[in-house]
Subunit: 459 residues, 2 copies
Amino acid sequence: MLKQEVLQELATIVGRDNIATERQDLLCYSYDATQMEFLPDAVVHPANTEEVAAIMRLANSAGFPVFPRGAGSGFSGGALPKTGGIVLVTTRMNRILRIDTENLIAEVEPGVVTEQFQQEVEKLGLFYPPDPASLKFSTLGGNVAENAGGPRAVKYGCTKDFVMGLEVVLPTGAIIRTGGETYKGVVGYDMTKLLCGSEGTLGIITKIVFKLLPYPDAKKTMLTIFDSIDGAAKAVSSIIGGKIIPTTLEFMDYATLQCVDRRFNLGIPSEGRAVLLIEVDGDRDLIEKQASQIHDIIRPLGLVQFRAAKDKAESEQLWQVRRLVSPSLRDVNPDKFNEDIVVPRSRVPDVIRRIEAIRQRHDIPIVNFGHAGDGNIHVNIMVDKKIAGMEEKAHQAIREVFQAALELGGTMSGEHGVGLSKAPFIELELTPDQIAAMKAIKQALDPNNILNPGKMFPW
Amino acid sequence: MLKQEVLQELATIVGRDNIATERQDLLCYSYDATQMEFLPDAVVHPANTEEVAAIMRLANSAGFPVFPRGAGSGFSGGALPKTGGIVLVTTRMNRILRIDTENLIAEVEPGVVTEQFQQEVEKLGLFYPPDPASLKFSTLGGNVAENAGGPRAVKYGCTKDFVMGLEVVLPTGAIIRTGGETYKGVVGYDMTKLLCGSEGTLGIITKIVFKLLPYPDAKKTMLTIFDSIDGAAKAVSSIIGGKIIPTTLEFMDYATLQCVDRRFNLGIPSEGRAVLLIEVDGDRDLIEKQASQIHDIIRPLGLVQFRAAKDKAESEQLWQVRRLVSPSLRDVNPDKFNEDIVVPRSRVPDVIRRIEAIRQRHDIPIVNFGHAGDGNIHVNIMVDKKIAGMEEKAHQAIREVFQAALELGGTMSGEHGVGLSKAPFIELELTPDQIAAMKAIKQALDPNNILNPGKMFPW
């Protein structure tokens, strides 16, 4: 519990209207997209960098933990106030400060919603590619803190690849700029990339300088169905080996396909075992040529259906198959654990086979879909929490899925992060020396362990 | 001076043939591409990671500094043994361990020469884009430690953008892996990017996992000459605004042009004030289309010559203009200070004008060329050290050039790094809080200040 004087000081910093301590308000900031809940002692909504810095200085002197939060759409509990203390919400800092069309740079505050930013830059003919599934509500600050990915990462990279510089309030309250506004820069350590994906444990992001691209001329969507997982996986490496790097290479396995087809009756051929939704973008002539090259490349790989969209409306129709996945899954079981392992591209069939064995061993429904282009598979373990023992079974299955990914040279998480939900598993992936080096950095920047404590590492 | 027992232990670790203490041997490792010289107490050539780790453990217990070194081609003194101690040379660790054509990944030891690696991957139809000017002799470990750039960075990025993972011996002697072999991965802090560009101060790189690309289908080179710097600069932003991102956009100013033409008589039109050497790569049809689009875009910008290469031989001829720059410069003055400032692309004309004013103020020859696509200008201050006072004048001019770059939103260095040569200037660019945060990280990972001490920050 925070002392009355501390609450008083917080109110002085952010203004009385921007601090909440009533239970009904606290509840709103006690959960995220995971199924965990922790109640904070107070929620503050600072308006600017100076207020954030003042909060951090107070937190160090009074000794309470601070949990930064954007929209709370995270899948790993990164924004949850595990140890009480305050939740610091960045959504009032939501201005797009400038879009520089000459240097293809934008500067924003952390509370800007991802999709809104995309729309604003697109109005100027520019392109911000990162497209996490949460983009309609997630904030850019959260995207940077978690290094959000998305389907387009195979061609364009993740959020981190578009961050040129940051303004950050360090755990001690010091305000620093990292990186810059130039495409090259090698003066000092790369604090920018260190902060990206640090899950709000090393600093609070208060401004972001993004790199932008010219908006692509055109795009072309193809829905392709294969008679085996191996065919679909081989298609991925053959397309890239054919010097074509698609914007997206979205994958759905047989279980996913069945779910979607059962509910929405999309007319998927009965011999279909795996779907690849492929999109290319760029020069109008080139993408037509690439679509026909892709068809030639994948034809011998057990292709049972190939549909290429002729226009935007047809493209939307093909994307429906992918978008209907989430609503269909609930038919299987009401609850799910959504993990996001990654394996080297060529190991996708192996990992899918191992997950199939895990599914059979535990007799628990698992459906897999995701970003085949970069080997990032969303493994959805479908549970009904009302059935006794099913949740425990799911946790055991998750551990085995992580082990499978790691044994195949992969990682436990490509997009969601560690936060609270994967912290118990981190020693599967990182060695004691790796963890010690990361902890040393955390301790160096946050000597009082004020910022987002208890996340990522086993402390 | 190292004690006899310490030298004995070092010899036991690396073998008697792989340690040198004779003055003539030490001299070979006392300099790099700067004009500084520091004699080490000993030079060791470890063969593998375990030997590197054993050296670091010994260095911590016996208390001597270690300076890692690849080919010693650095431009900022990063490999120089400023405080004595040992130079640790990585050139015996020079194997390409594997090239995975399916996942487009390669794993190498740090001592592999950059160009040799490029040639090996090209044999397999793959592409490693980073192309520092030193690529014929620089090593990949050095490239990663300095985050080497090059002309192709405007399209493809710098060395860091191709590093997926590392094996590193930390200053304490612990061996860790960072990153991985997947395109996505968000478990733990991004130690990989932190190590890239850390100039050998945070760890010794013993293995590198690189991301590769398919080798581009074709390329097209264009030599374009403008009647003003502003025209050339406007050309850069107009081409990129026209949705074409060239592989290279190399720039030469009037002084450079005069040097080259005076010596090699290339028939450059008398009204020519700036050159852009433009190259596009990719699909064969697309690049022809892009070349003609580029011609249309830049025609109204004071274009006085446009030559497009029809084949590889003609392309080589156009590149000659760029390659002859270095040999021509010596005609001006025998010695030069080669700085590599960066400004946002749109500020290139401004910075060139400011440098012109600095040149006039100090009456010292300065020629500028470099990578206009990312605003990275190589500023060459030409001096004759035999002329009394000229070197001091040059140092003052360098400080003013750095100030100009910083005032225009840029950085002191895009490729060369800080090392020793820019350490005296680092407080022009970084604030005390930025430096404190970076030093805290260095101290956390290197508590005894063993690894490459005295570099980068004012200690």
